[in-house]
């Protein structure tokens, strides 16, 4: 029933459907409709080009050979997707902010837009990709042959079918992959077609799986028993291979050009990663769910020696389920076509941007502006590259004869691509990574991969058996599969371990030893800190005369209308009236980025360089960029300083306010105290004068007594007012000092005699007159006033039976110290701090003065440049007066 003709018809119908879908999606996107084209679902499904025909057919074959080992190929990407927050998010952000067109472009862009590096990566990608494409051709051809065997007409010829398959795929890729020049733009048509193919291949595999489990084995439980009973029924995966393959597939998932294309270049929204983080692992899980059952049933049902890689097809066929087999064939066809199309697109972009364009540019050198239509050149280069890549795949397939198992070819390619990992990861996370480091690391890894894996795998033609056995020139430590004499390792583990570790070491060492160019350092900072700032380096200085040349060149790359629109927008942004913008550095930088979306970073850089006259990234520019952040820092620190200043001022104001409040309170209490002090004598004066006025029969004695009281009280008032006046004069600082010279002894003599005059001689004054021969140069009257006050205080307050005042004078370090100590009970500690305050009186009982004496003393001593303080621990009340030796020393 399922003849070859029907099969071919179905294939053609399917391809036509894909064309239709791709075309419709392109139309919808162009019309601005179809937001679902940019949905996370489509993005996730487009990631499924990871599952090629190799995984569609080869996974079952792998499972039939080595059990669960096949699952490693899916577990690696699962881990990468789950850890998207660490790596993929940054990769996608960098890819979008730098308008990267391919993985070669990304690496070249990171390392100073170096074209050498881009060419290296391109060569590696083409070398690794060719066997991979051949693998897809092989799988399609093999699946054709299965149906051809059953077809009685026998019209099938393998060679021609491969040729037509390759041609068909090339045409599809050219038609949809090179429609628009801007490789950084989304290819909605292709991506949608790939999403459709993803659904088809998933359902095909699930259908076969369900058929096998429920149709053949009869349910899950019998299937499990059957699995355990089969020849692969035990866990027998080598530990080294398990780890290595998970790591390898994870690395390849990031580094494969086609994965980079759909994951980074075609990404429309960073947020899609959030969905893909779980949806894509789910897709992988579903893809691998039925692999072991199909393999086990295939091993059971089919004759020994049949190719396990084709169990997906042969199991339904052997059960007579032709339509299921047809569906499964379409699934395999889908996986092969989608992979080939995207790979061809990705590789052709690399080849045209990094190999063809630089060569073409160098032939145009000297003519100043670019002549000819660059658009056509680039597009033609892409188309030819696709054709050439497909032809390479075709010839590889014809030459190798398609013998090796599918899985092993795929793994060889994986190991090749994973050599990009150190340069990629290092470039994203380490600012110290340099171009030299990347080049050296890539070269080391790449050569080791060729030497230890690719050549030995290709058979005796390219690497003689003797080399494999004994090493080149008989150096056994250089045997390709046992480097440095370490034998017994699995060849794959051996290669991955040595190539990647030496690659990484070389990358790091060369990076550490070399010094990057300014452009490299700028790009490095942008890549590593992409989340902090996405500002491009400013590398261009231009003059007005070049705008026209730039315009001509841009028209030839972007097309007339887009280029004019771009220039118009730029001119408006600059606020000019003409249609040509000034070639300011920022304009040139945007133009370069715009162009790099079409021809790649390195080429765009070189093209603008040709017109503008070379990149002018210098240390000064680096400094300028650094300056910007430094200025920000400085500005913020200035703000900080100002704010601190304000806080300080506020604190001072607060303090001043507190002081003012205190002073105001002091003034209030002073006023009330003064009123009180004035009121007491006033009251008695008033009372006695009233008595004298109103009482008629007062005796002369009484009159005299009352008048004496009034007189005393008036005297007291006068004294109080004198004291207050004195104090206010002293406090306001308007006091005039009459500086004179005398000895301390004579000042004390006068003070003692005037203080004790009039009073009963109850107080004994002890003095050491010999030590008092100190010359003084100060206001002697004021000083005498202080001494009198202290002596009369002792006379008034000393409560000893025989009061004795000891006056001693010392001369210490340029200061005269005079102590007045009596033998009374002294001043209680809690009152000591108060005695110098106004109206402070110790003990209310002994009313004598107004309590201003010591306050006045303190003020006087301050004016004289000395001080007076209470001296505790002398038995009685003791005061110490300090005075500078000569007045002029202190009272400047």
């Amino acid at each position: 029933m399922a003849t070859l003709n029907v099969l071919i018809l179905v294939c053609l119908g399917y391809v036509v459907l894909l064309f239709g879908v791709a075309f419709a999606a392109d139309r919808m996107a162009a019309a601005g409709r179809g937001a679902w084209l940019r949905s996370p679902l489509i993005y996730t499904l487009s990631l499924s080009i990871y599952c090629t025909a190799w995984t569609f057919y080869g996974a079952v074959g792998n499972a039939a050979r080595s059990g669960l080992e096949f699952v490693t190929i899916y577990l690696g990407p699962t881990l990468v997707m789950v850890s998207w927050w660490w790596g993929l998010r940054k990769l996608v952000r960098v890819g979008r902010s730098q308008r990267v067109t391919s993985i070669a472009d990304l690496i070249s862009s990171r390392y100073g837009k170096s074209n050498t590096l881009a060419i290296c990566v391109t060569i590696l990608a083409v070398l690794g990709g060719t066997p991979y494409i051949a693998l897809q051709l092989q799988s399609i051809t093999l699946s054709f042959s299965i149906f051809a065997e059953a077809d009685p007409s026998g019209l099938y010829r393998e060679g021609s079918s491969v040729f037509w398959v390759a041609t068909g795929l090339a045409v599809f890729a050219i038609l949809f992959g090179t429609r628009n020049l801007d490789a950084n733009e989304r290819h909605h048509g292709v991506v949608t077609a790939i999403a459709l193919e993803a659904v088809v291949k998933l359902f095909a595999l699930l259908a076969v799986g369900a058929f096998v489990v429920w149709g053949v084995a009869g349910g899950i439980s019998p299937m499990m028993d059957r699995i355990d009973a089969s020849e692969i029924g035990h866990w027998n995966v080598d530990a080294g291979r398990w780890t290595t393959l998970i790591f390898l597939s994870a690395a390849a998932f990031v580094c494969l050009p086609r994965m980079f294309q759909v994951m980074v270049v075609e990404n429309a929204d960073e947020g899609h990663l959030r969905t893909a983080a779980w949806a894509f692992p789910l897709y992988l899980l579903l893809m691998s769910l039925f692999v072991v059952p199909i393999a086990v049933v295939g091993l059971d049902l089919l004759p020994a020696g049949s190719n396990p890689d084709l169990f997906v097809l042969t199991v339904p066929l052997s059960q007579g389920n032709d339509w299921l087999a047809m569906f499964s064939f379409i699934g395999g066809f889908s996986s092969a076509t989608s992979m080939v199309i995207v790979t061809a697109m990705a590789l052709s972009t690399m080849v045209s941007n990094h190999v063809v364009m630089p060569i073409w540019l160098s032939t145009q050198e000297g003519s100043g502006s670019v002549s000819g239509d660059v658009r056509n050149v680039v597009l033609m280069a892409r188309r030819v590259s696709i054709a050439v890549i497909m032809a390479l795949g075709f010839f590889y397939y014809r030459l190798s004869g398609g013998g090796a198992a599918l899985a092993s070819i795929g793994l060889v390619a994986f190991a090749g691509f994973s050599q990009l990992l150190p340069a990629l990861v290092g470039g994203m996370f380490w600012r110290g990574a340099t171009r030299t480091g990347a080049l050296v690391g890539l070269t080391v890894g790449f050569l080791l991969w060729i030497y230890t894996l690719l050549l030995p795998g290709m058979g005796g033609a390219l690497m003689p058996e003797t080399v494999l056995q004994n090493g080149p020139f008989g150096w056994s430590w250089l045997r390709p599969q046992a480097l440095f004499g370490i034998e017994g390792m699995d060849p794959m583990v051996h290669t991955v371990m040595w190539s990647l570790s030496l690659n990484t070491v070389a990358f790091c060492v060369a990076s550490l030893l070399s010094f990057p160019s300014p452009l490299e350092r700028l790009q490095g900072a942008q890549f590593v800190n992409v989340f902090d700032h996405s500002v491009a380096p400013r590398g261009w200085t231009g003059s007005v005369a070049q705008s026209e040349d730039l315009m001509i060149m841009t028209q030839r790359i972007l097309g007339t209308v887009p280029a004019q629109e771009f220039f118009q927008a730029e001119a408006e942004r600059q606020g000019g009236r003409t249609s040509l913008p000034e070639p300011t550095p920022s304009f040139l930088e945007r133009l370069e980025r715009e162009l790099s979306g079409s021809v790649g970073a390195a080429t765009a850089h070189a093209m603008i360089g040709q017109i503008v006259g070379g990149s002018s990234v210098s240390v000064e520019d680096l400094l300028a960029v650094a300056d910007e952040s430094a200025q920000l820092l400085e500005y913020s620190s200035q703000l900080e300083a100002k704010s601190a200043e304000l806080t300080l001022t506020a604190r001072k104001l607060r303090e001043a306010n507190t002081k003012l409040t205190q002073i105001s309170e002091q003034k209030d209490s002073f006023l009330s105290q003064v009123s009180h002090e004035l009121r007491t004598p006033m009251t008695s004066i008033r009372a006695f004068s009233e008595i004298m006025r109103d009482s008629d029969g007062l005796s002369h004695e009484e009159q005299k007594r009352y008048a004496a009281i009034i007189h005393d009280e008036a005297l007291r008032l006068t004294r109080l007012l004198d004291d207050l006046l004195d104090l206010s004069v002293l406090e306001s600082g308007r006091v005039n000092l009459n500086v004179g010279g005398d000895t301390l002894r004579s000042v004390l003599d006068r003070a003692v005699s005037s203080a004790l005059a009039g009073a009963g001689q109850t107080l004994t004054v002890q003095r050491t007159k010999a030590s008092e021969r100190i010359p003084l140069q100060t206001d002697l009257d004021r000083l005498g006033q202080v001494f009198i006050n202290l002596i009369s205080n002792a006379q008034k307050y000393c409560d000893a039976e025989e009061p004795v005042l000891t006056i001693s004078a010392h001369d210490v370090g340029g200061q005269v110290i005079i102590d007045f100590a009596d033998n009374g009970s002294g001043i209680p500690p809690e009152a000591r701090s108060m005695v110098f305050e106004k109206f402070a009186r110790v003990g209310v009982d002994k009313a004598g003065g107004a309590g201003l004496g010591l306050a006045i003393c303190r003020e006087i001593m301050q004016r004289l440049g000395g001080e007076i303080s209470y001296l505790p621990g002398q038995g009685g009340a003791a005061f110490r007066v300090r005075l500078p030796m000569a007045y002029r020393q202190a009272a400047q």
Binding site: T78, W85, W86, I227, S230, W235, A239, A277
Partner: protein, 104 residues
């Protein structure tokens, strides 16, 4: 007299502590970041299983399949939940940076 010294605040700094919701979101993204390590650890467990086919202690393939696919599904579900939770708690990036330094 005010004895407590007033500390001068020196400019706007990133707040040291976040609001409850932002805090939850932070810790959620921490957990999401740790997920791949958990996954790698779970997938490394088969390395401990006896690999040769000789003994009777071999792990049957059905058990191996069960273990690996269960881990896999658990990873997917955890990743899905994190995705939804992050969306629910606010997809917008945190605007308030959390500083790791104590205020001086």
């Amino acid at each position: 007299m005010n004895s407590r010294e007033v500390r001068p605040p020196s400019g706007p700094r990133p707040s040291l502590f976040l609001e409850r919701q932002s805090y939850r979101r932070r810790r959620l993204s921490d957990a999401a970041r740790l997920l791949p390590f958990l996954g790698a650890a779970l997938l490394a467990i088969p390395l401990l299983w006896p690999g040769d086919q000789s003994g009777s202690e071999d792990v049957p393939l059905s058990s191996a399949i069960f273990y690996i696919f269960t881990c896999w599904a658990a990873l997917i579900i955890a990743s899905l939940l994190f995705g939804f939770a992050a969306k629910r708690l606010g997809a917008a990036e945190d605007t308030e940076p959390e500083t790791d330094r104590w205020q001086r």
